[in-house]
Symmetry: C2
Subunit: 187 residues, 2 copies
């Protein structure tokens, strides 16, 4: 992509230069992550995206903030929360769907990279999943049924899924993910 000349008008035009730069930079980050490049730096990202490093520094500030932006667009919006009428079935679908997602090497590279940039950004990877889990529990409560507390459900479902994906060499399989639900909700 050829960098276009910068001007305040171009920056604010929807779908204009600003959007193209964002798309090119996000694409560069995803490509570099899947290459498992040893060092993910702003000059390397900018070169891959075909934009000036100063553009990237001005807009995102740091690799951590840029990765958080990539992760926010990756991990939000495209997931449908299961609504089968049964909390158990909802959670089984949710957990096995997350297991599949975390088995994807590109997803996993992004999660690992963002954890590596330090503290405050890592939450972006799982914030949407946390909200979905809470929504399913609240819907069950609105039906007049008891549920485990959110903290307990987080410890029993989200934690093992992310832990196994990030810290072990075992893939989180959908079958195993469903057993997590059976421990959270015994018969």
């Amino acid at each position: 992509m050829r960098p276009a000349p910068s001007s305040p008008r171009a920056e604010s035009r929807p779908g204009g230069r600003s959007a193209r730069v964002r798309a090119a930079v996000h694409q560069a980050v995803r490509e570099l992550l899947s290459d498992e490049a040893d060092e993910l730096t702003i000059p390397v990202i900018a070169a891959r995206a075909g934009v000036h490093a100063t553009t990237v520094y001005r807009r995102w500030g740091s690799v951590g903030d840029l990765l958080a932006d990539v992760a926010t667009s990756r991990f939000s919006g495209d997931i449908v929360v299961p609504d089968t009428g049964s909390l158990r079935e909802d959670l089984e679908r949710f957990a096995s769907d997350l297991a599949r997602d975390l088995s994807d090497p590109d997803t996993l590279s992004l999660v690992r990279a963002i954890v590596g940039t330090g503290g405050e950004n890592a939450g972006v990877c799982r914030a949407e999943r946390q909200r979905q889990l809470e929504a399913m529990l609240e819907r069950e409560q609105a039906r007049g049924n008891e549920t485990p507390p959110v903290e307990r459900a987080t410890d029993a479902l989200l934690a093992p899924l992310y832990y196994r994906a990030v810290f072990t060499d075992q893939a989180p399989t959908p079958e195993w993910a469903r057993t997590l639900v059976s421990h959270l909700l015994p018969d």
Copy 2:
């Protein structure tokens, strides 16, 4: 630290140049991690350690392998496995000790950095803890008692502890860690 002239004899002398380089490089990594420097690269580490970058490249190859070496010396050997005669009490001590360890900012920086370098090294952070957990379960079995399977204990204890430390802004407290044991071993 002033780099000493390199020779095969000096390299192989115990406590000699080789050991001094290792100590200086490990120290540099720990300092840079606690600075929360945006980019942890071999030239930056070498400059901080006062050694040539080529020395670091030759010995460790990549930032990931170097971090794995630092993590191996950090996360092994210095932990006593609880042995109270009661599996529940052993696991409560183990979990609350790990909670305290993962609340330490320096420990957490190292765990996050090593996750960020990619897949195969992240296991180093928790391999020793995994072995300890298995040892406690095996001891209980040797006493003739039933225990949860290792996989279940990992999902119920190690996973929430590492997940909360790495992915959330909640500190893993010893009190909360003990509740994890009560879910794994109901009365």
